[in-house]
């Protein structure tokens, strides 16, 4: 696959200050954010690959769901002027990911098995058991 067909990162200085997340490049316009979804693939909290067109797919799937759920709860999406781009209203975010666990497994630093096997006290709080 030709490198040119993969969107690894963007450099649109004229859009304002840039903040690079794991997958998205975010440009701050004051009251709005320009979110550009790249082809970076983050799994297990790491960039593990670049996948052609993945950014377009992700941005458009997100847009589809934000539209379908708009009547349940309002959201930040103002426009999607390009398959990779969302223009969003800037909100104060709650920087928390809601994870539900069904199995005691995993290998990364944040996985439940890693923390449980290391005797993490915070996990004991969650389990309320000593086994």
């Amino acid at each position: 696959m030709n490198d040119m067909e993969v969107l690894k990162e963007t450099d649109f200085n004229f859009l304002g200050p840039k903040k690079a997340g794991k997958v998205r490049d975010i440009y701050d316009r004051g009251d709005k954010l320009i979110l550009i979804t790249t082809d970076r693939h983050s799994s297990f909290d790491r960039i593990i690959a670049h996948v052609p067109w993945k950014g377009q797919v992700l941005n458009q799937v997100s847009d589809w769901w934000f539209d379908k759920t708009r009547d349940i709860i309002g959201n930040h999406v103002l426009a999607t002027p390009d398959p990779n781009v969302t223009v969003a209203k800037k909100f104060r975010t709650v920087p928390v990911e809601a994870v539900m666990r069904g199995y005691l497994t995993g290998v990364t630093d944040t996985s439940i098995w890693t923390r449980y096997s290391a005797g993490s006290a915070t996990l004991a709080d969650l389990f309320c058991l000593t086994g």
Binding site: V94, V99, G102, T110, R115, T122, D125, G131
Partner: protein, 43 residues
Amino acid sequence: MKKNQRLPSPIFDPTTKEDTHDRALTPSEMIAEGFITAELLSD
């Protein structure tokens, strides 16, 4: 418990979305560190 064992019941195990890497923390730590208010979490 053993590795890969099914949990007795599903548990809420949030992480913070931080710029470098995500970090696991309990609901009470989330409130203590100011990531979320108790009122919003209980909703």
